[in-house]
Symmetry: C2
Subunit: 328 residues, 2 copies
């Protein structure tokens, strides 16, 4: 019996994605804060993916995926559905690749995310998050326009693109002479964590990779405990608009399960305090969904003391009024 | 006649400071924003010194200066006067070097700066900015306590420390295959710009280095035009609490004058819009005084179109309520 069946994404796929992305993506820095080290008793490195093109890691996967669309199929453009960060990633990638983009977004997505998606030249189609099926709308538009659907996470090329976050973390840790004990990143569909897990475990097999989720949107935590995909109960509210997927992806979960990823959660109040800490101590603008791994660390949701911990700050697209409220 | 008399700070002094600082200072990234490139028509690189230890570049000069204090003189500790960023830089450097620090701060300095200075273990002595002489108070305390006074800018070792900002900019530009046309940084006493000018002109003699100041606090712009040190008229108000020095330093001005530095200004309204742009586009928390060079760029205060422009974002220590107001 083979204890580790071949995964849908390998470290070599991530190396290839890194070559595709090199001229276009920002190589985001791995930052440190002596103040937060002292506060947590850990050696903490922050992967500042808020500094990525479009303000979140989503550009990486979208650009890697869309670069692989054959020239003959590019005329029809692309269609995607997203609450906002994937939308901007796809729109910006389409602009760079000279393709048309149509994005299906919930009508209650943050204004900043809708406006910025249009700012990259995409057409935005709004839907009612509670009553309409965004996937059906997107598939209909793609068929009608002969466009390629760019899925948000459950796709090997998307995952390989997001994995470049983990590859850069591994390179920067090596340059610092550090090995990570824990690498924690926000999870919605799980594409970012799956990509990071492949890249990190290839170089640091003993590192623990963690999904961080808002309380009540803990489908990864539940699924990873159960060993099979489970949905969250869908009844909760959260300020983490980027992290509302109902269930882990099939491909992402297969990777995360095999690589021993574990789930942690943080409450909205803890997330708000993490946004405020990033403002005050890191001088970074982090959106609630992007701060949930930091929130789990600062709230003591996992044992970090004495460890080398990497916290991925995955996005910074937050409306000014919500940000003002959280830091006030 | 020698057209370029020897300067008080050389590129070799900055190299030496870089070696002193390497284990302690953050090597801050040089960031880019395709959105702001498109908005300005320039190739803009942002030196994110808000990510420096203590949230501003001031740590560099303070640590370099204080590292040179002989062991025998360290027991008396250090005294400094500062509206906030130098205060934190000195306090953090003192903590790392195991020295006692006393900081003389204006009673109306931002609360965040006062609290954070205390957080690094310093004793804070408040004074009335309009009625008392902070230098006299600081000199009195230094004499009384047998402490070393750490000046905020007009000192060769302070300037050499700040110059490491320029050295890192030059290294990162070289790695990108770029040469700067313009390097602009905020100026109060002029130590940051003087250090940057020495480092940049040593590697890129044709680059233009600029001081950026708030309107009404334009002592560098006036002095550089006049060829001699002139004070601003002292009647204006500004949200740039970090940039209120009355006149360029003697040493800093001698350097800036010889190296052909030019002055630009920006209004408080332009600074506010720059803080908001840094929030929305760069995902960085920049304090008003740290954003004044960005403000001058975005307001078209100098001709940037088609040029490679480096903007130094020098600090990010801003109270949450003011920040919320500026991004709102």
């Amino acid at each position: 019996m083979d204890p580790s069946p071949p995964l849908a994404v390998t470290a070599a796929d991530i190396d290839a994605a890194a070559r595709v992305l090199a001229p276009f993506a920002v190589r985001t820095p791995l930052l440190s804060s002596p103040t937060l080290d002292a506060a947590t008793g850990a050696r903490v490195l922050f992967k500042a993916e808020v500094l990525q093109r479009t303000g979140s890691f989503k550009f990486r996967g979208a650009f890697n995926k869309m670069s692989a669309i054959p020239q003959a199929a590019r005329a029809g453009g692309v269609v995607a559905f997203s609450s906002g960060n994937h939308a901007q990633g796809v729109a910006a990638a389409a602009q760079l690749l000279g393709m048309r983009a149509t994005i299906v977004m919930p009508a209650d997505a943050p204004l900043a995310k809708r406006e910025r998606t249009k700012g990259y030249g995409a057409e935005v189609v709004l839907y009612d998050r509670l009553r309409e099926d965004r996937e059906a709308i997107a598939r209909g538009l793609a068929a009608e326009r002969d466009a390629t659907l760019v899925p948000p996470y459950d796709d090997a090329e998307i995952i390989a693109g997001q994995g470049t976050v983990g590859r850069e973390i591994a390179d920067d840790l090596a340059a610092l002479g550090l090995a990570p004990d824990i690498v924690a990143a926000p999870a919605s569909g799980g594409g970012l964590v799956a990509g990071i897990a492949v890249a990190i475990k290839a170089r640091y097999p003993n590192a623990m990779v963690m999904t961080a989720e808002p309380e009540g949107f803990d489908d990864h935590a539940r699924s990873l405990r159960a060993g099979r995909r489970e949905a969250h109960d869908g009844k909760a509210q959260t300020i983490c608009d980027a992290l509302m997927a109902a269930m882990p992806g099939e491909i992402t979960f297969a990777i995360n399960r095999v690589l021993g990823v574990r789930g942690v959660v943080a409450s909205d109040a803890e997330v708000g305090r993490a946004v405020a800490a990033a403002f005050a101590e890191l001088k970074l603008v982090v959106e609630p969904g992007g701060a949930v791994a930091l929130a789990a660390l600062l709230a003591g949701r996992f044992d970090a003391r004495g460890k080398t911990v990497v916290i991925v700050l995955s996005g910074g697209n937050v409306d000014a009024d919500l940000f003002a409220r959280l830091i006030g």
